[in-house]
């Protein structure tokens, strides 16, 4: 547990980066600090491992003031992932990852074998081990940065805008990777970003900072979208928050409607819209009434592409509504974990479920 108590950071030029911050980071979750530039989120993160020292207040990790011991010793026990990876250009990937174990006095052989394990964990091919950072893509470098931070198995991981320098596609895959890793490792992660979508996607809890280093709201992402504390948070959370908030509401118990399906290659039935599936009942596309082949077998060229799919095992109201809205027939396709069609969903059903959830809250 990391506890900020009345923490203030005033720089020599008089600017107050963080003002009387009280905040508790709970163990085993991802806590995201988010806000516009100059809001003190990075300063707050860096005070945890004393890269920046507070001018007032205390920060305690599991009850121990971070200022009480040796700074270098403290830092070896806290993983740190920096913007643009910050890899050591003169060391191979393997030796970059082995940095903290070597600082902790492990033998070179043991440190390198641990580094090898980590390459596997973060999904780096073994042949990368002997390369230098300049030979890797931005996304690969950032994976190395995460592996390096995890090498000595620290309970806490600080991530300072780690994915801001990579393109959106790579960023999304790194985010998914982080969530997968976290599901296995259950670290206490503090993650800084200026991107509210990233914050809402990754955070178990999100702390929104406003300019001047004041905490505006500290809440679960669903609550943040549903009930912003003030106009600043509302504006920062941005457009479509009502729709995005549906992503945090479970679609459990949403009634599924029946759905007429036809196998690819079977004779086309009559009716307006029919969902076409393959031999494993996985959706392939829709057959429109006007394209009816009057009993002739349905082939791939007759199909209208389908919309997004709603997975009944893990889907939210957002994915259910999107499935309905994006489907050409107006009926969203519900599938199970294996991708087999189990029924259909209408936008009205989602809105009705939302009204029920609101009434219960």
């Amino acid at each position: 547990m990391i506890e900020f108590r009345g923490v203030t950071k005033r720089f020599p030029d008089g600017t107050v980066a963080v003002d009387e911050l009280d905040l508790t980071v709970t163990d085993g979750g991802i806590t995201v600090f988010v806000g516009p530039s100059g809001c003190g989120k990075t300063t707050s993160l860096r005070m945890i491992n004393r890269m920046i020292e507070p001018s007032g207040g205390t920060i305690e990790i599991d009850g121990t003031d971070v200022m009480s011991g040796d700074a270098a010793h403290l830092r070896r026990g806290i993983g740190y992932v920096i913007q643009q990876a910050g890899l050591f250009p003169h060391r191979t990937i393997l030796d970059n990852i082995a940095t903290v174990p070597m600082l902790l006095g492990w033998s070179r052989a043991k440190a390198r074998s641990r580094a090898g394990e980590l390459m596997e964990i973060v999904g780096l091919a073994p042949e990368m081990a002997k390369r230098y950072p300049s030979q890797l893509s931005g996304g690969q470098q950032q994976r190395v940065g995460v592996a390096r931070a995890l090498a000595a198995d620290p309970p806490i991981l600080l991530m300072d805008e780690p994915f801001s320098a990579v393109d959106p596609v790579v960023r999304e895959s790194l985010q998914d990777e982080l969530l997968r890793l976290q599901a296995e490792l259950s670290k206490t992660i503090v993650f800084v970003t200026h991107d509210i979508d990233e914050a809402v996607k990754l955070g178990d809890k999100v702390a929104v900072f406003r300019t001047g280093g004041v905490l505006a709201q500290y809440d679960e992402p669903g609550h943040l979208l549903a009930r912003p504390a003030d106009d600043f948070v509302d504006g920062f959370v941005g457009r479509d928050r009502g729709y995005r908030g549906l992503g945090f509401l479970s679609a459990d118990g949403l009634p599924l409607g029946a759905l007429e399906t036809v196998r690819l290659g079977s004779p086309a039935p009559s009716g307006d819209w029919t969902l076409v599936v393959d031999d494993a009942d996985r959706p392939q596309g829709w057959l429109a009434g006007r394209d009816r082949t009057d009993g002739a077998p349905v082939t791939a060229e007759h199909l209208v592409p389908g919309g997004s799919l709603y997975d009944v095992t893990s889907g939210s109201l957002r994915s259910a509504l999107d499935a309905a809205l994006s489907s050409p027939s107006g009926r969203g396709v519900a599938v199970d974990a294996d991708g087999r069609v189990v029924g259909s969903i209408g936008a009205d059903d989602v809105l009705a479920a939302l009204a029920t959830a609101r009434a219960a809250a």
């Binding site: 890269m51 270098a72 830092r75 990876a85 230098y132 030979q135």
Partner: protein, 218 residues
Amino acid sequence: MNWSWIPRNLDRVAELTVQHLWLALLPVLLGLIVALPLAWLATRARVIRTVLITVTGLLYTVPSLALIVMLPLVLGIGILNPLNVVVALTIYTVALLVRSIADALDAVPQAVVAAATAMGYTPLRRFVAVELPLAVPVTVAGLRVAAVSNMSLVTVGAIVGLGGLGALFTDGFQRDIPAEILTGIVLVLVLALLVDVALLAIGRAVTPWTRAGAGARA
């Protein structure tokens, strides 16, 4: 020209060559040892940097002959003491290296330094393990300039009787033996070239990462 001077004086030439190498290269090593902590200091505070760069810059402009003649007075040693040449050339080497090493240390990416600190490096260990290795390419470039320039500066010492191969110039002029002068010039050039190539090779050997191309990007 009478070339027979060369075979008759091979022993003397060999002895002077060895002396020349010592007088030129020992100051390069000493200069590096002095310049490293000074360069580190220069990166700590802007004031220190300005003072150091200005002072070392001024030192470099002192004419070599004047320095070699004046040093015995300053150091309180005999004018024929080899230390005079060694100290003079060490001063030039330091003057050359402090600025370039300080620039090289400043050029280490901020994210790399911050990452090293966050990993738990103490400042001294970080300097040795991260900042210094990254400053090697620029440092080696500075060392090459210093070594080559020392090769020619050593000969000035011959005026006070301590100049390695420079002795061939003074002696050759006084006794009018062109072959002796020519031998000196050619040997100084060859030595300078060899030392330059050797330093280049050492520099490349210790910085394999600078040649790792970006071709393997995926």
